[in-house]
């Protein structure tokens, strides 16, 4: 049962989740929000296990799964994400949610699903794991059941999610029909020998892109994103914005690298166009937003566009770049959301204009958000700069200048709306009521979480060697180099 050892982290999480669900029956109501701590502990344990797999390359369970540096990279990412989401949740959950034990359990299950996605080397496994992630998110989005916005978000999300998974499945069926198999390696082999499997495979790819585009919020499959981000409970939005996207990309990158590379010439331009549409629309519409959650939603769409830039030229470099950018984006966005969550907990606010004068109330909080926003904008000192630089330069290396030019141009435009938030926090004077001048007190654990994330953002921004190496190893693993 050696294979089992390598899925031990997932098992740990499942066990933790079940344990928490069980604890729900015995614990008194007001201590339930604290279940986040054992849940977080579970992610830490799993994280330790996952890291110990670094450098391993091994096929598991008849090749449906594979543990390699690529998988480890993403698993670490998901666990970190899960950890911070859990850490950031209790205060919010206490205020706004019922059934907090289930809430944490669902988060853990979603993390399990995402981890499985990153290992999966086969369409069915990957699909069903992705569904696990999605179902977690469906339930989480609608979790604030008394809130009409949360209901609406959940309804829209699950219906569109079902629609998209139908599209994805139709695509899988076509790929399966054309290649006769769902294993990436075999698909690749088929595609190589039977030069071009005709319209069937191509349409299958289009549908796969559509289905995965939904998860990563690529235009025009992004429409759910802003609504769900806005409607879902804040910690869920935080989780969603990085988890769903990263899971989708974990699926997409491995699939395209291991399975569809031989027919790359057929889909590269289409994906380039997709990337441009995604970032352009994301940025343009983000400028119009008044709600911080919606702003971050459109920003996340734009970020998906940046990552997609790497897909049309799938090489070791661009794949590493995409992974890197995702990782940077994940910590950054989480940081931003943690601040928003905290601010919302303290004040109940989420409009951008309500962030005015925040720097007067808590400079560290405002600085943290500013750091994250600058990082999202791709400013130096912060993660976003390095990861974008790496990614875009890798793409440029293959002569896709038009794509890079669009991407860089877009990142400039994006600065505008990030700056608008920064302006509200630092520049615009706060209204002169008592409430606005009260300093915010940050609980120790929130402060620790924020500091850790800020540290990560700065670490990637200032000395990214280790993480770049990790991403490169991960990328090498799927390219089999």
């Amino acid at each position: 049962m050696d294979d089992l050892y390598y899925i031990l982290p997932e098992i740990v999480l499942v066990v933790t989740a079940v344990g928490i669900l069980a604890a729900d029956f015995v614990l008194p109501e007001d201590s339930k929000p604290n279940l986040a701590w054992p849940a977080a502990l579970g992610t830490v344990v799993a994280l330790g296990l996952v890291i110990s797999f670094w450098g391993t390359e091994r096929s598991l369970y008849n090749g449906t799964l594979r543990i390699d540096d690529y998988a480890v990279f993403f698993k670490v990412m998901f666990l970190v994400i899960g950890f911070f989401v859990l850490i950031g949740s209790p205060a919010f959950a206490r205020r706004n949610l019922r059934h907090t034990a289930e809430f944490y359990g669902l988060i853990l299950f979603a993390v399990v699903g995402a981890m499985a996605v990153s290992s999966a080397r086969e369409l069915l496994t990957a699909y069903i794991s992705l569904e696990l992630v999605s179902f977690g998110f469906y339930a989480l989005s609608a979790h604030a059941k008394d809130e009409r916005r949360s209901n609406e978000a959940g309804a829209k999300y699950i219906i569109l999610g079902a629609f998209s998974s139908a599209l994805l499945l139709y695509g899988i069926s076509l790929v399966f029909g054309a290649a006769g198999t769902t294993f990436y390696v075999d698909i690749s082999a088929q595609a190589e020998t039977a030069a071009g499997l005709g319209p069937g495979l191509l349409m299958g790819i289009a549908l796969l892109v559509a289905g995965l585009g939904f998860k990563v919020a690529a235009v025009p499959f992004h429409m759910w994103t802003p609504d769900v981000y806005e409607g879902a409970p804040l910690p869920v939005t935080a989780f969603l914005s990085v988890g769903s996207k990263a899971a989708g990309f974990a699926f997409l990158i491995r699939l395209f690298v291991e399975g569809l590379q031989p027919v790359m010439a057929d889909w590269r331009d289409a994906l380039g166009i997709l990337a441009i549409l995604t970032m352009t629309l994301g940025n343009l519409v983000a400028m119009q937003q008044r709600n911080i959650k919606r702003l971050l939603a459109y920003s996340s769409i734009a970020q998906a566009g940046y990552v997609l830039v790497g897909v049309p030229v799938l090489t070791m470099g661009t794949a590493a770049g995409m992974m890197l950018h995702l990782a940077g984006y994940a910590v950054t966005n989480l940081g931003a959301f943690l601040v928003v969550i905290f601010y919302n907990n303290a004040t109940g606010r989420e409009k951008i204009s309500e962030f005015r004068g925040m720097s007067r109330r808590s400079l560290p909080l405002a600085l943290m958000l500013a750091i994250c926003l600058f990082s999202l904008a791709g400013m130096p000192l912060f993660a976003g700069f390095v990861t974008k630089f790496y990614l875009f330069s890798a793409v440029a290396a293959h002569g896709l200048w038009w794509l890079v030019a669009f991407a860089i141009g877009n990142s400039i435009v994006s600065v505008y709306y990030y700056l608008v938030v920064v302006r509200e926090m630092f520049v615009t004077p706060s209204d002169d009521d008592e409430e606005d001048r009260k300093p915010l007190r940050i609980p120790v654990h929130s402060a620790a979480a924020l500091t850790a994330l800020a540290g990560l953002v700065l670490w990637i921004g200032l000395y990214p060697d280790a993480i770049v190496r990790a991403a490169e190893n991960g990328s090498r693993a799927i390219f089999g180099g």
Binding site: L124, Y127, R148, R149, A155, I159, G177, G180, P226, D227
Partner: protein
Amino acid sequence: MIEAVPLSHVLFVGAAMFAIGIFGVLSRRNAVAILLGVELMLNAVNINFIAFTMYSAPSRIVGQIIAIFVITVAAAEIGLGLAIILQVFRNRANINVDELDLLRW
């Protein structure tokens, strides 16, 4: 026997059902009705899987297994979907999706 029906015809049936499902999703206002459309689409997918695995795939089993999973997912989807829609109904007394517009732009 059944081999007289070419694979493409079976696939066309699947495609047609999928398209009908799409039409359902796109044209309906009632959230439950939309879910019905999704169910049609998932069934169409299953037709594809069964057709492929029976006609052309190296393995006669894989497609069937996938179909089982699809059915599972479809059931789960309808279950959770209906639960959420029910909650929407409780809070708004109405499940027309074009009145779900608190969130937009």
